[in-house]
Symmetry: C2
Subunit: 139 residues, 2 copies
């Protein structure tokens, strides 16, 4: 079984830097919590993780299907529970993309494949949140 390892070092105030396979990612929090807002918050980083995971699936699948696309982005909107520990319990993924109308069925297929089969981060989110998806086709 493969193992992923990440080492994270405390800097100062509330800031930490994670070393992820040689790439540094800094995290911080807002002044309300003693931070300096110098970097993203750890919890919100999970939403980037979700978008990146499913986004890479979509690019890989559309490329395999020879679908030409542009202006691809993903919005994640997540509701946070009010009591500690505060978790994301409702998450909406909105895929925005520009492609030929004839290829819309292929985009829908790509999203289904990512959500139902390939995207591990989406599968992990489904263990604690209601995860919804929507596709918006740009003109």
């Amino acid at each position: 079984m493969a193992t992923h390892s990440v080492s994270t070092v405390f800097n100062d105030h509330m800031a930490f830097t994670a070393n992820i396979s040689g790439h540094n990612v800094r995290m911080d929090t807002t002044p309300d919590d003693g931070g300096e807002d110098s970097a993203p918050s750890p919890k919100r980083l999970m939403l980037a993780s979700l978008a990146g995971c499913t986004g890479m699936d979509i690019v890989m699948i559309l490329n395999k299907m020879k679908v030409v696309f542009s202006d691809f982005s993903i919005d994640v909107d997540a509701s946070v529970t009010e009591e500690h520990p505060k978790i994301y319990n409702k998450v909406k993924l909105t895929y925005k993309i520009k492609l030929d109308v004839a290829d819309q069925g292929k985009m829908e297929k790509a999203v289904s494949l990512s959500q139902d089969k390939y995207c591990g981060v989406s599968a992990m989110f489904r263990a604690f949140a209601d995860l919804q998806t929507e596709i918006r086709y740009l003109d």
Copy 2:
């Protein structure tokens, strides 16, 4: 109920950039998957998120307890399942810290408070993984 929103844009090859409250975080994958390994992978980013979340709790709690510490870091080692969707099913958090022997009980209390009460990311991980913790006191 509060909402967290993150917008993530496709760059090129397999790279995406997430905008998290005004902070940009790039994600990429390895050449095996069509990427250029220019940035961390989305899935591993979740492990940084976990370390940052519980790490900030610990710093906040130790500060409140007036505990002096240094050399604080957190290692995350996560087993990945072999079949799609590949998820983290076993996760180990190792807290490393230098502090006075007399304060070790306070550090254990801080880890318990983070894991059992405050850290939302840890709570989310527990929905899909067996999450273990260990504290190593540095000389």
